[in-house]
């Protein structure tokens, strides 16, 4: 009976989703050259790429009509899809995490998707020297909290250096935008020196905590009866950093603080996975490369604060030329929609090749998230996260036509446009319904209540 049921279930599930072939495309693989050809997708994965591919029987064909096909864009620094960003009350807030505030209904996900972004690293804010835990998502618009998470992605944590974490330690100056705390509520640190101290203190504690647990595990293994150490949710993620299980993404601007963090990490024996923003990274590119940290920067932001006054649009190019693994990020729900042209700017600022420029928003951020075995290029075996652009994606004139995640179409411009009238009608109906129901509700609930 059970077997029969299982068989029935299997039969219902079968046949599996048909393979998809995207053909007649200008394929920009990023890692294996560019050519006119096709991509074959099966069960959410790319199974074949080439100028000529065998078309599996029953395949669904998407004709790209000579348009451009590239890997889904990866934004290594985003704050979308989260209900809160900064836990600013403490200097070390590693006990909090984006996982608890993930919001799959944030419209910014749909907008990022329509801009070709398929993966984003959702970071905690920069109010603390050691911030909260980060989370990698796929922009699977319409899915729930579990559905947008990038399954199997390594966890991360945000660090922050410079003006932002020390702001709470600086007394407010009247009229100064983004000024610090009032004198009664100063929070250590208030200088770059203090930021270093906070990080060193935290990792000194984490090392002790790690040792306590190691001792406990060792004694337990020997059969001794021991009381486990008290769990510390603040130090646990830092132990994971020490053990290489959690990636550090550190917000920084100036060369001095960048160098400081690299040396702190060297002293404690862990690696900085990425330096975020890293606007003066070009000044210490060889030190960054030697440590093995990646750098995720802006294309051309500058002068919005003192620590951004030496920012130059050539930053990505210099760091790349000096051996640093570089990506471009948005840090903005708006800029996130046009990372393709942000990458295009590096062709002008520093003379990167088109492939190098595209790598800044695809394979390089994939490596920075330890996800290059899954995403970041068009290669057999990788997730079918793909974008079709009508023109070369580095062009100002290009726009996204289709976006696939795991082989499923999540955005289709033609459909988006044709759905608009329907949405408008639906909106009108809902507003009408609300109007009709409003007087009744008033009777039931008495005077109109203010939302609290």
């Amino acid at each position: 009976m059970k077997t029969a049921f299982l068989f029935l279930l299997g039969a219902l599930c079968l046949p599996a989703a048909p393979p998809i072939v995207i053909q007649n495309a200008n394929v920009l693989t990023i890692t294996k050259g560019s050519f006119k050809g096709s991509v074959v997708i099966q069960d959410g994965k790319i199974i074949a790429v080439g100028e000529k591919v065998d078309i599996p029987a029953g395949a669904q064909i998407i004709d790209a009509g000579g348009q451009y096909l590239m890997p889904g864009i990866i934004d290594a620094h985003s704050h979308i899809a989260a209900d809160s960003i900064n836990e600013g009350a403490v200097s070390v807030s590693s006990m909090v995490g984006i996982e608890d505030v993930l919001n799959p209904e944030d419209i910014a996900i749909q907008r990022a998707l329509a801009g070709g972004v398929t993966t984003a690293n959702i970071l905690h804010g920069s109010a603390n020297s050691i911030g909260g835990k980060c989370m990698v998502i796929k922009t699977r618009w319409g899915k729930d909290t579990a559905g947008i998470q990038f399954e199997g992605a390594k966890p991360g944590i945000k660090f922050a250096l410079g003006e932002n974490p020390k702001r709470q330690g600086m007394p407010t100056t009247t009229g100064r935008r983004g000024g610090g705390a009032d004198t009664a509520n100063l929070r250590y640190p208030g200088t770059r020196m203090g930021v270093e101290d906070v990080i060193r203190q935290a990792f000194t504690e984490a090392k002790q905590y790690q040792a306590e647990w190691k001792e406990y595990e060792a004694k337990k293994a020997r059969g001794q009866i021991v009381i486990p150490p008290r769990r510390d949710l603040k130090l646990e993620p830092l132990v994971e950093v020490l053990e290489g299980k959690r990636l550090v993404h550190a917000h920084c601007y100036r060369a001095d603080e960048i160098l400081m963090l690299l040396r702190v990490a060297d002293d404690f024996g862990f690696k900085i996975k990425t330096l975020q923003h890293v606007l003066e990274g070009y000044k210490v590119a060889k030190e960054i490369a030697a440590h093995g940290a990646g750098a995720s920067t802006f294309s051309d932001w500058w002068a919005y604060k003192v620590e951004a006054f030496d920012a130059i649009p050539y930053n990505a190019a210099i760091m790349h030329k000096k051996g640093v693994l570089v990506s471009l990020n948005s840090d903005s729900a708006e800029l996130m929609r046009r990372l393709n042209t942000e990458a295009g700017k590096t062709v002008k600022y520093g003379g990167l090749t088109e492939t190098e420029a595209l790598a800044l928003i695809t394979i390089n951020p994939a490596k920075q998230l330890d996800l290059d075995h899954r995403i970041g290029s068009i290669e057999a075996g990788k997730d079918a996260d793909l974008v079709i652009y009508d023109k070369h994606p580095l062009s100002s004139f290009a726009k996204v036509q289709k976006v696939l995640i795991d082989g499923q179409v999540y955005f289709d411009r033609d459909k988006d446009i044709s759905d608009r009238n329907q949405m408008e009608t639906k909106k009108k109906q809902l507003l009408e319904k609300e109007k009709q129901q409003a007087p009744q509700q008033k009777k039931q609930g008495g005077a109109a209540r203010r939302p609290v």
Binding site: Y282, K286, Y304, E334, S396
Partner: protein
């Protein structure tokens, strides 16, 4: 005869040691006012465009620039900036944009432009040769001026000191102004409406007072005293100086236009984002619009994702004249990419190019001297290796009034310095 005259002219300037006379040979020239010309030559004499055509002769002493493989466009105009008025956003001491008070028509933005601001070379390196500088804050913020991005002093940079008066038209719930923070506020509708009504009344009263002042001045009676603010309003009341009216949404736009019609003043709308059904009216009343920034998010959650990108084409289809503005300092250099994105989302290319050159020149009343490559106009030129609306294109040379200006900046200097770090 003409050639001889030109020769004489060029000879003179050459002797005078002036470098604003030269010939660009064999380039692709985009006059904007007409179709592009392949393999064309362009003669600049005394900073002005003297000849364009397949064959242009010039005297032997005239410097020749080989334009083969290069493209010549008119310099671009950013119709709303803070260029030179603020150095570092977070440092208040470096900002001279928002003065205290609601009505300050006597203030002039141009005098707060720091000619050696690091922003100026950065902006112009991308082909932007002139910008409107706008004061902010209050209701009547002050006078916006049009300047060249070259000069030893703000006076030398001037194109038009009193190009327009900047008015931040009151609106319900904010979002009406020059400020980028147009997000929703936590103020109740009743409270917002009360503030709005009060500010609209203040505006109307102010204009009424200004008109009384104008009458009193004309009458010239005893006891008349000069008032600098009302003096500054007279060109506006006389329709000689346009008002830049910042209005974002349909309702604010409609109210601003109705108000301006009643006041019989000339207006240029700015910051328009959701014009709704007002476009036909703007066209009928011949009201131009400064768009920007259009590389932005839609205003509402249920707006189409591409609504800011398709807006320029919407205006074009309705026949409304528009130009782009960055409304910024930091990203002024990205002005052409607003136009480029609009092309991707439907705006005809020629119109996009005009919206950063000839259209703003016409809107600000300087098209006799700027905005296109035509005989007699100032040689504000950029020489590029491709299409300036493309992010990948580089500006190779830049000219302001025929004088070559440096395209090096703080950014290129730091680049060269640190690229060479051993």
């Amino acid at each position: 005869m003409r050639a001889a005259l030109l020769f004489a002219l060029t000879a003179l300037t050459a002797f005078a040691g002036v470098d604003d006379t030269f010939l660009i040979r064999g380039a692709t020239v985009y006059p904007v006012s007409g179709p592009k010309m392949e393999n064309a030559s362009l003669l600049v004499v005394d900073g002005k465009i003297a000849e364009i055509g397949p064959k242009v002769t010039a005297g032997k002493t005239v410097k020749v620039i080989d334009g083969r493989g290069l493209h010549v466009y008119p310099g671009m105009i950013d119709s709303a900036t803070e260029a030179g008025m603020q150095e570092i956003t977070s440092v208040r001491e470096t900002a001279d944009i928002n003065e205290i008070g609601d009505f300050k028509p006597q203030l002039r933005a141009v005098i707060a432009v720091n000619p050696i601001s690091e922003h100026i070379p950065v902006i112009r390196a991308n082909g932007i040769t002139s910008v409107m500088v706008l004061p902010g804050g209050g209701i009547i913020a002050g006078q916006a001026g049009l300047i060249h991005l070259d000069g030893w002093t703000w006076e030398e940079m001037l194109i038009k000191r009193d190009a327009a008066m900047n008015l931040l038209f009151p609106s319900i719930g904010g979002g009406g102004g020059f400020s980028m923070s147009a997000g929703p506020t936590r103020v109740s509708f009743t409270e917002s409406k009360r503030t709005y009504d009060r500010r609209i009344k203040q505006l109307k009263d102010y204009f009424e007072s200004a008109r009384r002042y104008q009458k009193a001045k004309t009458a010239g009676g005893a006891g008349f005293k000069i008032d600098l603010a009302f003096e500054a309003m007279i060109p506006v009341l006389e329709g000689k100086m346009p008002l830049i009216v910042n209005a974002v949404r349909e309702r604010a736009i409609r109210e601003a236009v109705d108000w301006a019609t009643k006041e019989n003043v000339k207006i240029v709308l700015a910051g328009v984002r959701k014009p709704g059904n007002t476009l036909a009216d703007l066209k009928a009343k011949n009201i131009p619009v400064i768009l920007g920034p259009t590389l932005t998010l839609p205003m509402e959650e249920d707006d189409p994702y591409d609504s800011p990108f398709t807006l320029p084409n919407e205006l074009y289809k309705a026949g409304v004249k528009f130009a782009f503005g960055s409304f910024e300092n930091q990203f002024s250099r990205n002005l052409p990419y607003q136009a480029g994105t609009a092309v991707g989302f439907g705006l005809p290319y020629e119109e996009a190019l005009k919206s950063v050159t000839l259209n703003p020149a016409q809107i600000w009343g300087v098209d006799a001297t700027l905005g296109s490559i035509d005989k007699g106009k100032w040689a504000d030129l950029m020489i590029t290796n491709g299409d300036p609306l493309e992010v990948r294109t580089e500006v190779k040379r830049l000219y302001v009034k025929g004088k070559e200006v440096d395209i090096d900046s703080r950014h290129t200097k730091l680049y060269k310095k640190y690229l060479a770090r051993p």
